[in-house]
């Protein structure tokens, strides 16, 4: 009997099996539950029930608006920061980048709790009492606070890769600082922008921990639906999850497919 020669390909088997059981099968289960009713009959009733409920629809709109505002604010803050860091000639710029990433290593629930205490302190001051009930403001602030590093890192790594000689060429050819920025920096940073936007937009639609802790439980986002349905109706919960899944696939596909993304958290380690 001949023992087959060891092939390195076989090392992949445990991981492939793991992925089938714990990634593919769960997705199929969700798909099945989303298209069945409580009696396990195939039906579209979950979709119809969900999308014909005006309160649900208005929550979705609110949630999308919150996510959109969060993403835009993150982008507006992160772009200049990444630009300044990528272009600074400072020797220690790695340390400053590190400072932006450090808070991510504290558990995010602890961080959001810290922000909550800060808001409590401010709302006890004269003239700022209104802050206690500014639930939407606090939620968006918290999400920006929590997700900002996810925007800064991909932008920074992308900008660092831009070839310096392009800037020189642009200046040599007579372009000013503004033209160079608009025609070189912005287009070449787009991959970073796309990956930053997906890293921020999706969590700010689904991370209900932030909205619960900072919004006095008065702000509902799409992720919260899944949490609520998990206790009552798995079919509806799976349906919402499936919708989110489709959103993810479409946005990934639009932003350049399943290429290996910038390993955001790993870049600093």
């Amino acid at each position: 009997m001949k023992i087959p020669r060891f092939s390195r390909k076989t090392l992949c088997i445990p991981y492939a099996v793991f992925l089938i059981f714990f990634v593919i099968v769960p997705m199929l289960v969700i798909l099945f539950y989303a298209f069945t009713d409580r009696n396990m009959h195939i039906s579209f009733s979950n979709f119809i029930r969900f999308f014909s409920d005006p309160t649900k629809l208005s929550t979705i709109v609110y949630s999308l608006v919150i996510a959109l505002i969060t993403t835009v604010i993150c982008l507006v803050i992160a772009f200049p920061v990444a630009y300044i860091l990528a272009h600074s000639r400072m020797k220690k710029k790695f340390v400053i980048l590190m400072l932006f990433v450090l808070p991510m290593w504290i558990n995010f629930v602890l961080r959001v709790n810290a922000l909550r205490e800060l808001f409590n302190l401010f709302s006890s001051l004269d003239g700022l009492e209104g802050l206690a009930n500014a639930n939407y403001f606090k939620t968006v602030f918290g999400m920006v606070y929590d997700f900002l590093p996810f925007m800064i890192l991909p932008l920074y790594t992308t900008m660092l890769k831009i070839d310096r000689s392009l800037y020189e060429a642009s200046y040599d050819l007579g372009a000013g600082a503004v033209t160079t920025f608009v025609r070189i920096t912005i287009p070449l940073s787009m991959p970073g922008v796309m990956s930053g936007v997906t890293m921020v937009f999706l969590p700010s639609m689904t991370n209900y921990v932030v909205s619960d802790m900072l919004g006095n439980a008065k702000v509902t986002i799409i992720g919260k639906f899944i949490y609520e349905y998990f206790g009552t109706d798995w079919h509806m919960g799976s349906m919402v999850a499936l919708v989110l899944l489709i959103v993810v696939f479409v946005s990934t596909w639009l932003s350049g497919g399943f290429k290996s993304e910038e390993n955001v958290r790993g870049t600093t380690l």
Binding site: F6, S7, R8, K9, L11, C12, P14, Y15, A16, F18, L19, F22, V23, I24, P26, M27, V29, I30, V81, I84, L85, S88, V95, I96, F100, L102, P103, M104, W105, I106, N107, V109, L110, R111, N113, A114, E117, L121, S124, Y145, L202, P203, T206, N207, M213, A217, G223, I226, F230, G237, S238, A241, L244, L245, V248, F258, E261, N263, R265, G266
Partner: protein, 270 residues
């Protein structure tokens, strides 16, 4: 000349302001963690009461232990599985490689809550009760793809002929893997492990959906205590100020030490 100085100051001010925004809440907690008070904004004098409360509460200590043990177990298993997976994938045909990679990306890009819900329902459908096993699986699902992502670049940089040479010189394939390939990809494996630890420590959602009843980690405990918000929890919450401060200080020390050692290495190379 003058314009560039003003510009530099503006740039520094902007970066400084954003950093201040990120650190203000943590620093606030750090300051108040050394005060007797249970309420931020009301100082009652220096005291280490929150620290002693933190370390004398067996429930709190238990959940801190749970958090770190879980992170270590999940990260270690993810690292083994992910490293083997990345190695295997690397030598597979392009089609197979692409398929495995695409599936592996799903937990990375997916919303955490979708992953968590899908796992939770699947465990029930299959008839596996929630236990430490399901919790570890849940964490492995979110950690392993990141290990794969950090090992793959090292495989691409690797010199492939060394493995062949080892085989030609009579090494068994396993020995060649262990002695020749592993040393070349070890930086990626280590950073994958660190990444997995971070992801597991930071997790709330997957933990909630896959944990056995009664199992608490730092994040589930703090979230529940905050959402209840009564008199009793005020004392518990203020001991979290101490916890946040300790974690923060540990991180700062870790970063300083790792920077210093890397500086030393550079010096030594010269």
């Amino acid at each position: 000349m003058k314009k560039t100085i003003v510009g530099k100051c503006l740039k520094a001010a902007f970066v400084g302001l954003v950093l201040l925004l990120l650190y203000a809440p943590i620093l606030l907690l750090a300051v108040y963690s050394f005060d007797k008070t249970d309420m931020i904004g009301k100082t009652e004098g220096f005291s280490l009461a929150h620290y002693t409360a933190l370390f004398s509460d067996s429930k709190v200590l238990g959940m801190i232990g749970n958090t770190f043990l879980l992170a270590f177990v999940a990260a270690a298993l993810s690292t083994v599985l992910g490293t083997l997976g990345a190695l295997g994938m690397f030598y597979c045909k392009k089609r197979v490689k692409g398929a495995v990679h695409a599936v592996s990306q799903i937990p990375v890009i997916n919303a955490e809550i979708v992953t968590a819900l899908a796992l939770a329902i699947t465990f029930v459908v299959v008839g596996i009760g929630k236990s430490y096993f399901t919790l570890v699986i849940g964490h492995m699902v979110i950690c392993t793809p990141f290990v794969v992502l950090s090992v793959i670049p090292k495989l691409k940089q690797m010199d492939n002929s060394l493995y062949e040479a080892a085989l030609d010189l009579g090494a068994s394939p396993f020995k060649a893997l262990w002695k020749v390939i592993l040393p070349q990809i070890i930086p990626g494996v280590i950073s994958g492990f660190m990444l997995a630890v971070t992801l597991s420590l930071d997790d709330y959602i997957v933990t909630v959906y896959t944990r056995p009843s009664g199992f608490e980690t730092i994040s589930t405990y703090v979230f529940n205590a905050t959402m209840k918000g009564n008199k009793h929890t005020a004392a518990t919450l203020s001991s979290f100020w101490a916890l946040t401060t300790i974690i923060f200080l540990l991180i700062v020390v870790f970063v300083i030490v790792s920077n210093l050692t890397s500086l030393r290495k550079k010096e030594a190379r010269r």
